[in-house]
């Protein structure tokens, strides 16, 4: 039941906590980029089909726009993921980051950010797929 490793605190248990750079806001960052990418793609497609091409008309440049959004979103998500990775690999402790230290809190935030960035990356790619396989507003 009790984790036998609990008492082996990592070397940096007494390190000054890297608090200044931490905020809970880092967690929703990558999914927010996903959401903005999704919203921009949807609005672009909807307005294009409603105002430019009409039902059944060609998608044309709307697909290019979605491609650009996707590239930008993936780049930002990758940056967020890297920032998370740096936090995750701070010091020498590995997951599950459940020590009662500021350093482990720092690493936990980093690791969760990495995971969220990975999910957001995949989800952004998935959302870009319709623009690859759809040619018209039908």
């Amino acid at each position: 039941m009790a984790d036998p490793q609990r008492l082996d605190l990592p070397h940096d248990a007494r390190d000054p906590p890297p608090r200044a750079r931490d905020s809970l806001w880092i967690l929703p960052l990558a999914p927010t980029v996903w959401a903005l990418h999704f919203l921009a793609s949807y609005v672009t497609g909807a307005v294009w089909c409603a105002k430019v091409a009409g039902y059944g008309g060609p998608l044309g440049d709307a697909r290019v726009l979605v491609g650009i959004y996707t590239a930008v979103a993936l780049a930002i998500i990758a940056l967020v993921g890297m920032a998370g990775w740096r936090r995750h690999s701070y010091g020498d402790a590995t997951a599950p980051h459940d020590f009662a230290t500021a350093a482990d809190r720092h690493r936990f935030l980093g690791f969760a950010t990495v995971l969220l960035a990975a999910l957001s990356f995949v989800a952004t790619l998935l959302v870009a797929l319709p623009a690859v396989f759809t040619g018209s507003c039908r």
Binding site: Y55, L126, L129, V132, F133, T134, S136
Partner: protein, 336 residues
């Protein structure tokens, strides 16, 4: 070919027929997506069977793992292996499968929504509470009004233009393909291409008020020549009554003002509020897919309209003498 549709709210003599069809359709029915008779329905049924098989396998594996983990795996596995399970089975495997599935779905979309510019048959369908106004538009622009049934030539694409003047309905022939909503203020499109002949059923799929359950229609897929014959019949004016009683029925029909709402082409009745009745006796069903097409059902519909279809717009004529009802029913039944 099953003798369909089997209208309900019927008793007695139809029951034997119903039992026969039930036996025939033991695993499916005339409204089933699993016995497809159209390009769209076939492709979607294929998708379903693959997904169904995959889902069964995944379910068995997941539940098997859970049972193993709780019952038999005790103490044999460390946290490292458990984490691998999360990454492999929880993250990587679903991502791969879901991506493949999404691409399958996306590639199917253009098949289900083809350009309809060169469709062989054009039909405008208006959903109303609770029936269907159907208008065939021929290539030369003639408009042939009918109601509550669709007949199509096999092997040819039919383009449907869907509208509604009152509430949202949804036009659906499961055997032929997916459904499409009919939304007030909007015009929607649907393309269907039957692949085999037969009699099927369509239904309203969007909840549209009191008698939503009673808003259906008959569908028949014909050989192209038979279809052309049928359409020519529909375009023609009504036949004259075949018997004196039917002729009296026509007099009553006009005298009671039925023509204010209903049209019988070739007579003074030219109402457009209700269904066109010019060839009502030749339809697959009565009352939008809910009664068999025979004189008794006509009498029942006219006399007990609101028992048969609650809140229907048509006022019931239950106060008519039985003889009048019979004459009216006979007349309408003869409009083939």
């Amino acid at each position: 070919m099953p003798a369909l549709p089997i209208p309900f709210l019927t008793h007695g003599r139809r029951l034997t027929a119903a039992a026969g069809v039930l036996a025939l359709a033991a695993c499916d029915g005339p409204q089933s997506t699993l016995t497809p008779a159209g390009v769209g329905a076939e492709r979607i049924a294929d998708l379903w069977w693959w997904m169904f098989g995959g889902a069964v396998v995944i379910w068995v594996v997941v539940i098997g793992l859970a049972v193993y983990a709780t019952r038999f795996g005790t103490g044999r596995h460390d946290v490292r292996r458990a984490r691998l399970l999360i990454i492999g089975a929880g993250a990587v495997f679903p991502t791969v499968v879901l991506t493949a599935l999404l691409i399958w779905g996306l590639r199917l979309m253009p098949v289900l929504r083809p350009p309809t510019g060169d469709a062989a048959v054009r039909v405008e369908v208006e959903g109303l509470r609770w029936w269907w106004r159907v208008t065939y538009v021929t290539p030369d622009g003639r408009r042939i009004p009918l109601a509550n049934e669709i007949r199509l030539p096999v092997g040819q694409m039919a383009a449907f233009t869907l509208t509604s003047p009152d509430v949202i309905h949804s036009f659906w022939i499961p055997s032929l393909g997916g459904k499409m909503d009919m939304i007030p203020g909007r015009v929607t499109e649907l393309a269907l291409e039957p692949t085999r002949t037969g009699v099927f059923r369509g239904a309203c799929a969007e909840y549209c008020g009191t008698s939503h359950a009673l808003m259906q229609f008959g569908v028949e897929v014909l050989e192209p020549a038979a279809f052309d014959d049928w359409l020519a019949t529909q375009a023609a004016p009504a036949e004259a009554p075949a018997s004196p009683e039917a002729a009296r029925g026509r007099e009553l029909f006009l005298a009671f003002g039925c023509g204010a709402c209903h049209a019988v082409r070739g007579t003074p009745a030219d109402g457009t509020i209700g269904p066109d009745l010019t060839h009502v006796g030749g339809r697959l069903t009565l009352g939008a897919g809910i009664l068999p097409n025979d004189p008794a059902a006509f009498a029942r519909w006219i006399g007990d309209t609101h028992e048969v279809k609650p809140d229907a717009e048509m006022p019931p004529f239950g106060m008519l003498p039985a003889a009048d009802l019979r004459a009216l029913a006979l007349y309408l039944d003869g409009l083939t």
